[in-house]
Symmetry: C2
Subunit: 668 residues, 2 copies
C-alpha cells in the first residue's frame, strides 16, 4: 500500500533520509525542541544544515536527499529558500555565464541566497512592487533603491540570518523608462565577516505563528550599486549603451508553467503532511477511551472514542482525503509533465487548463490539509492542545500555504474565470473537443469533457446515468459518483456563465459564488485523478488485498464532497435529474454506513502511510501505542521541572514573587 | 454605541482597568513579550500578579477589577485558576468553618489554589476519574492516592509553578464503599519554602499551543494523608465513625446551575475577544491596498482590500456576529438570573431549558470566535502570520474554549437531546406552554414556543408569514427573519424526532444530524436574544443614530445564518412554504447588498467596540492607522537584530556554522 500510494521513488528516498537522521541522531533528534526558545532551536537547525551542506560539498549527499531529510525532520531550516527559490530561479533565468558566477557557488554553498520579491506593502500584485533597479550608464551598473517604508523587502526566508546574496525582484528603469519587474542578484552580506554591505539594511522580521526555524528577513537598499552583469538575462537584456532587448523565442506564458510546477510541489507535499495528522489522531482516538457505549458488552471498560459516529464523521473522511491527495498528485504531476514536454515543442494548448487545475488543487489541498490538521487536533481533545501532540507545530508551520504562491481566495477566482470562459466558449461551440462523444476516465481534458457530458440542456435531458439506481448502487460505482460530481460542476458552471455573460453581472459582483465553483471543480478533479490512479492498480494477487480499502477511500471521498453542502446539489438540480432532498440524504446514510468498514481498518490505513516516529514527534501518535507513558515522560523532561535550571528558576520566582505574596509583604 | 452594546458597567470597569495598566505601564506593557521565551514571559506576568495581589491585600484593588485587568492585558496569568475555580468552588461547596480555614486566606492570597479534576486519561467523563480519597478511621484522615499513570492529575492551571493547595476531585471511599466524586483540599507545597510536600509529585506539564503564561501542572499523590475536615462538606458529610450522609434540601440539579453560570461567562467573554480580532482585520483591510479595481477612477492607486466583495463576505458577517454575541449575552445573562432566583425558591422549571441553551450558545460562541479569529488572520494576508498581527496569540489562547467546559461536539449532543425530548413531548401534548397562542419576542421559553408556531403540521399549514413577501421586505423585517429561523429549527426538529421516536433510530445513529440541530437552534436563539436586546434601545435622539447600524448588524447575522448551508432550509421545506432555491438565492443577494452599507461604516463599527491598543498589541490593528511604521519598528526591536545580544548571537553562528560552510571547511 505504501508503495502504491506514495510511489516507489518516495518510499526509497524517505527510507534513506530516515536512516541518515537515525545514524546522526545526536545532531538530528528533535525531541527536546518543544522546550527551546527560538534562538536555541534555530541554532540546533543551523548545526543540522551545516552537516548536510558539508556532506553535499564532499559529494556524499545529494540535493534530493537533503529535501527528504527536511521532510523526515518535519522542520524547515534557514537554507530552505536557498534550495527552493534562489537556486531554481538561477537555473531558469540566468544565462550560462551567470550560472558559472552564481549558480555553481550556490550549489556548493559557497554563497547563500534568498529570493526577494514581497515588500511590506505589496504582496499578490507583483506589478505594484516599488523597489527600483536603475541603469547607471556612467559606471555600467544598476542602482538598487527602496525609497519608502512600504518598499522594504519583507518575509524573505534565508535572509534574516544567513544569506549573503539576494535575488531582488525590482522595477527595471533604463533611460527613465520603466520596463517591468525583473530579478537581479545583489550581494547583501560580506563573505568574509558576514557584516551587511554598505547601503544594505538587513535583519530578521521577528517571531511568527510558525516557521520560526526559517529566518524570514527584511532588507532595505539605500542606492546600492551592482554590476550590470547581475541582471538575470534569460528574459531581458540591457547592453552597455542602455539598449533593452528581449530575447526571441520566449513566450511569456512559460512563467505560468513555473507557477504550475511550484503548485504541483505544494499539492504533493500537502498529502504527506495531512498523513502525519491523521496518523496521530487515528492512533490516539483508537487508544483514548471516554464513557461507556450502552451497547457495549463490557460496562466497566470505557469505549475508544474512535467508535463514536461523530468522531468517525470528522476523522475517516480525512483519512480518505489523505489517500485522495496522494493518489491524485501522481496523476496531476504526470499531466504537468505532458504539458511541459508539449510546451518545449512550442505547443501551449494545455497550459491554460493545467494552470486553472493547479490553482484549484493548490487551494483545495492546502485548505483540506490545514483545517484537517486542526480537526485532528480537536479530535485529540485537551491533549491536542499540548505541544507534545505534534499537531500544533504542524498546523502553525503549514498555515502559510493557504496564503503564499497565491492566496487561496484569489486562486479560486483564477480557476473560476477559466471555467466560465470555457463554459461560455463551449456554449458558443467554439471549443468542442475532438473526443466530445465519449466520456472516458483516461481523457486528459476534463473541463470540456464535463460540459460535453452535461451540456446546458439540463431541462430536456432524460438519460442521467444514476436514474433508478439505489444509493448503495451509486456508492459502489466510482463512475456514477464521478458523474454526479460532473453534473454538479456543469450545472453550477452554466448557471454562473448565464449570470455573467447573459445577465451581465460583472465578475466582481459574483466573487462569492465563484468560490463555490472553484471548489466543486477541484472536488471533481480530485476524484477524477484519484480514480484514474486506482485504475492503474496492478492486477496481481499481492495488490488485490489493497483494492477494496482503496475503493472504500474513494467512495468516502466522493460522498463527503457530494453531501458537504446539500444545497449545492439541490439548488442546481433539474427536473429530470431526480435529485431530491431524499436522494441526497440517502447518499449521506451510505457515507455513514461506510464508516464502520473504515473504522475496522483505520489504524492499518494510517500505518500504511509510512510516517516515521521521528517526523511525528508526538506522544499521542507514537507507533507503539504507549501514549500516556511517553506523554508523562516528556512533561518530566520539561526543564522547569528539573533540579538544575528548574530548581534555580522556581527558587528565584518564589523568593521574588510568590513568597512575598503568601507572606503579605508589601515590598514590590 | 459602546455603552449600549457592552453595557455601562463594563465600559466603566474597562476604563478603570485601562487607566490602571497605563499608570503602571513599566510593569504591564506587553509590547516586548513577542520576543520572550516562555520563562521570561511567565516571570513578567508573575511580577504583574504580585502587584495586583499586593494591592488586593491592601484593599486598594478589588477582585472584579483584577479580572478586567486580565482582559485589558489580554493575558491569563498563573493566578487565573485560583480566582476562577479554586475560590468559587470553596464559595459553593465549603461549610462555614471550611470557609474560614480555606476561603479567607485564599482571598488574601495567603494560600494559592488550583482545581484538580482532569486526569491524564480521563476528561469529559467525570465518573471515570481514578484518584481515590479513602477514609482512614484509625487516624481520622483521608488518604489521597493516584494508583496509575492514567490517574495523574493533568492540565491544572496554577499548579505547575504557584499553587500551595489543590482542590482535588477524587473518588470517595469509606468502609470499602465508593460514594462518587467529591472535592477535597490537599496541601501540595510548603508555605515556607514552596517545596512539594511528602508524597506529592508535582510539576509543569510543559509548552502548549497557547496559554503559556498559565502554569498548567500535573500532580500525582502517593498515599498522601489529609484531615477529614478537608473534604468539602456542602454536599456530603463523613463523620468520625465513617458514617456518610448527604444534607437534605440539596437538589443535585444545582450543579447544572453552576455549569450554566460558567458557560454564561464564556459566552460573554467570546464577544469581547472576537471584537479584538475584527477590530484588527477591519482596520488593516481598510488600509491595505492590492490591485486596482477596474471601476476605480484612480488607476494608479491600488484599491483597499476591504472594497472587494469576497473580503466583505468574510469580514462583515463577523463584525455583525460580534455585535450579536455582545447583545444577546446581556439577555442570556438576564434569563440566567431569573432562572437562578427561581431555583433559590425551589422552582427548577426553567433549568433544563437554560442548560440546553447554555450548551448550544457556548458551542456557537466559541466556534464562531475561534474560527472568526482565524478568518481575520487570513484576511490580513501574509502579515496575519506575523506575531505582530496580535491574532496568533489570540487564536492560540482562545482555542481551548472549544474543548473545556464540555467539548463542543458533546455539548451539541446535550442541546439536541433536550430539543428532541421537548419536540416529542410537544407532539404528545404533554408540554403545551400556557402562552401557546402568541409568539412574542418577550417570551422566555423559546423552544416550546417555536414548536407552537410551527407545529408538526407543515404540510397542511398555509399561513407562513413570509408568503408573498419580497426578499427585501423579509430582510428589513427582523420578525420575519426570526420566523424563518424558527421554521427551519422546527422542521429539522420534527424530522429528527420522527427518526428517533417513530423510526427507532438510536441517538448514537443520528449523532451527525444532531450537530446541525444544535446549530440551527443556537442560531435561532442568538437572533432571538439579539433582537430582544435591540427592542430595549432607548427612544431618545442620542440613540436614534445607532439604531440603523444595529438593525443592519441584525439582518446580516440572520441572513448569514439562513444562507450558510442552503440545504438546511431547502431540504426541510414543505409544500406551502414557498422556500425554493430561488427564494434562498434572493436572500443571499440581499445579504451581499447589505455589505456596501456596512462597508461604509465598518471602521466606525469596530471603533465603537472600544478595544484599547494595549489589548490589541497589534501593528495591523493600531488605532492611528500607522500600520507599516509600527510593524517595521517592531521588527527592528527584535533582539536578534540589536548590537548587543543580536551581534553576539549572529557572530557566534557565523563563526560556528555559516562561516565554515561558506569556506567549504570540513570541520564539523
Amino acid at each position: 500500500m505504501d508503495t502504491f500510494i506514495n510511489g516507489q521513488k518516495w518510499v526509497d528516498i524517505r527510507k534513506k533520509a530516515h536512516d541518515f537522521v537515525t545514524k546522526h541522531s545526536d545532531v538530528f533528534c528533535m525531541r527536546d525542541t518543544y522546550f527551546m526558545s527560538r534562538e536555541e532551536i534555530l541554532e540546533k537547525v543551523l548545526k543540522q544544515e551545516k552537516l548536510v551542506a558539508q556532506l553535499i560539498q564532499k559529494g556524499e549527499l545529494d540535493h534530493e536527499l537533503s529535501l527528504a531529510i527536511t521532510y523526515v525532520q518535519d522542520t524547515s531550516g534557514p537554507f530552505r529558500l536557498h534550495r527552493s527559490m534562489f537556486m531554481p530561479t538561477l537555473e531558469r533565468q540566468a544565462n550560462d555565464e551567470q550560472k558559472i558566477a552564481f549558480l555553481e557557488p550556490a550549489r556548493k554553498y559557497q554563497i547563500l541566497g534568498c529570493y526577494a520579491q514581497t515588500e511590506v506593502g505589496h504582496g499578490s500584485n507583483v506589478r505594484g512592487l516599488e523597489t527600483t533597479a536603475t541603469f547607471i550608464p556612467e559606471t555600467d551598473e544598476f542602482e538598487i533603491n527602496s525609497p519608502t517604508i512600504s518598499s522594504t523587502k519583507w518575509w524573505l526566508g534565508a535572509l534574516g540570518i544567513v544569506a549573503t546574496h539576494a535575488c531582488v525582484m525590482a522595477q527595471l528603469i533604463v533611460n527613465n523608462k520603466k520596463h517591468g519587474i525583473f530579478p537581479i542578484i545583489v550581494p547583501v552580506r560580506s563573505l568574509k565577516d558576514h557584516k551587511p554591505l554598505p547601503g544594505v539594511h538587513v535583519g530578521d522580521i521577528g517571531p511568527k505563528m510558525g516557521f520560526n526555524t526559517v529566518d524570514n528577513g527584511f532588507v532595505n537598499f539605500d542606492k546600492v550599486r551592482v554590476p550590470r552583469f547581475n541582471l538575470l538575462q534569460r528574459y531581458i537584456n540591457v547592453d552597455r549603451n542602455g539598449n533593452v532587448t528581449r530575447p526571441e523565442n520566449v513566450d511569456p506564458r512559460v512563467t505560468y508553467s513555473t507557477m504550475v510546477f511550484v503548485r504541483a510541489g505544494i499539492v504533493n507535499n500537502m498529502g504527506k503532511e495531512l498523513a502525519k495528522a491523521v496518523t496521530i489522531a487515528t492512533r490516539y482516538t483508537a487508544v483514548r477511551r471516554q464513557f461507556s457505549d450502552p451497547a457495549s458488552t463490557n460496562k466497566h471498560q470505557e469505549t475508544p472514542v474512535l467508535d463514536y459516529q461523530i468522531v468517525q464523521h470528522r476523522l475517516i473522511p480525512l483519512i480518505a482525503k489523505t489517500y485522495a491527495m496522494l493518489a491524485m498528485s501522481h496523476e496531476f504531476y504526470k499531466q504537468y509533465e505532458i504539458c511541459k514536454a508539449e510546451i518545449e515543442d512550442g505547443n501551449f494548448s494545455k497550459l491554460k487548463e493545467i494552470h486553472a487545475v493547479s490553482c484549484g488543487l493548490k487551494k483545495w489541498c492546502t485548505d483540506t490539509t490545514i483545517y484537517g490538521v486542526d480537526t485532528c487536533r480537536h479530535l485529540c481533545g485537551g491533549h491536542g492542545f499540548s505541544e507534545f501532540s505534534g499537531l500544533n507545530s504542524a498546523f502553525a508551520n503549514l498555515y502559510p500555504n493557504i496564503i503564499w504562491e497565491g492566496d487561496n481566495f484569489v486562486l479560486a477566482q483564477q480557476t473560476a474565470r477559466y471555467i466560465l470562459k470555457s463554459a461560455h466558449a463551449f456554449e458558443q461551440n467554439k471549443l468542442l473537443p475532438a473526443n466530445a462523444t465519449s466520456h472516458k476516465i483516461s481523457n486528459s481534458d476534463p473541463t470540456n469533457d464535463v460540459f460535453v457530458k452535461y451540456p446546458n440542456n439540463f431541462e430536456t435531458c432524460t438519460d442521467y446515468p444514476w436514474i433508478n439506481k439505489s444509493a448503495s448502487q451509486i456508492c459502489s460505482s466510482p463512475e456514477l459518483l464521478i458523474e454526479l460530481l460532473a453534473y454538479r460542476l456543469s450545472s453550477i458552471s452554466f448557471e454562473l456563465t448565464n449570470r455573467h455573460y447573459n445577465l451581465n453581472e460583472s465578475f466582481n459582483d459574483i466573487l462569492v459564488p465563484v468560490q463555490t465553483l472553484s471548489t466543486v471543480y477541484s472536488e471533481y478533479m480530485v476524484c477524477y485523478y484519484f480514480y484514474r490512479h486506482l485504475t492503474k492498480l496492478p492486477n496481481s494477487p499481492e495488490y488485490s488485498k489493497i483494492k477494496q480499502p482503496l475503493l472504500l477511500m474513494f467512495s468516502i471521498t466522493a460522498l463527503s464532497f457530494l453531501t458537504r453542502n446539500k444545497g449545492e446539489l439541490l439548488s442546481c438540480s433539474h427536473r429530470n435529474s431526480q435529485i431530491t432532498p431524499k436522494f441526497i440524504s440517502n447518499l449521506e446514510s451510505e457515507l455513514i454506513n461506510c464508516y464502520s468498514n473504515a473504522r475496522s481498518i483505520a489504524v492499518l490505513l494510517v500505518d500504511s502511510l509510512g510516517i516515521p516516529d521521528s517526523k511525528l514527534n508526538s506522544s499521542l501518535g507514537i507507533s507503539n501505542g504507549q501514549v500516556y507513558e511517553d506523554y508523562v515522560s516528556r512533561a518530566l523532561e520539561n526543564p522547569l521541572n528539573n533540579d538544575t535550571f528548574g530548581d534555580r528558576t522556581r527558587s528565584r520566582w518564589f523568593n521574588q514573587y510568590i513568597g512575598p505574596i503568601l507572606k503579605g509583604s508589601n515590598k514590590l
